[in-house]
Symmetry: C2
Subunit: 144 residues, 2 copies
Amino acid sequence: MTQRNASVEIIQQQLTAFARRARATAARIHPELSLVSYTLLAHLDDQQGCRATDLAAHYFLDKSTVSRQIAALEKLGFVERRVDPDDHRVQVLHPTPAGAAVLSNAMTSRRQAFHERLGDWDDADLARFASYLLRYNAAQELKG
Amino acid sequence: MTQRNASVEIIQQQLTAFARRARATAARIHPELSLVSYTLLAHLDDQQGCRATDLAAHYFLDKSTVSRQIAALEKLGFVERRVDPDDHRVQVLHPTPAGAAVLSNAMTSRRQAFHERLGDWDDADLARFASYLLRYNAAQELKG
DNA sequence: CAATTCACGTTGTACTATACAACTACTTCC
DNA sequence: GGAAGTAGTTGTATAGTACAACGTGAATTG
């Protein structure tokens, strides 16, 4: 096997191993917010509100999945809906203050966990790792 | 925000994005074998047979989860059990020829998909990316 | 402008992956 | 030989997901 093939094989295995653990890890570091809820809520926060359809498109989820996730977040009081006055079909979603607070805690826990795991990396390696992941995912999105 | 924090943030986001898509991607590249089935079967193949408990420990899964996954793979005719003659509690698991065949197809598809995504990377970057992922996951396993 | 088509979201249904707890069957150790 | 431990299964519950059918409102078009 060439060096190149060996590298690809390792990347594949390691990304797969990571993916398998991600949900469980998320549950451990912020039990109050699942990986998906966290992701959706973070997107709402980041975008200053958006539509369910946008979330579905962005995360390759079915609109019914998003609908249920949002319903759950709403039931927990973390998200609120505001009907778009220009188009009554549309509900613009926003984190509530409680949602923003729980998100902020989760982000802090996540950030801390990642900083711990990456604590002994030097800055140049971190920057390079970050750029590789960006590049990898960007390619995914185009071809996916 | 420091450069270092920015890198950690990106790593976190990108790994999370990857994880979210991994199952769906696996389903697309090899519909006949889910991400988990694939992983377990690959492990059996790689280890030349092992016990359910070993799989559970290795992948941080509950033994009941492994039990059901293996039952499903057995039902599909991809795995067989051989009671360990030295310890009748133990079932040593092996891929069947059919299991090895389907695994081999799935591995080929995966490999191809990864090679495509990584096609325009140069060898040095690939090798470095692989080493970063190894390092990241190794740290996870110790602290996990 | 009325009728058709389209877009947004919800609900019914089904399935997969997962965990925890209770259980059975076997082994080991005192 | 009985107590304690280990391997695996089964019952039960939950999360996340998809697809299909639907309701409702918007846009287009003949």
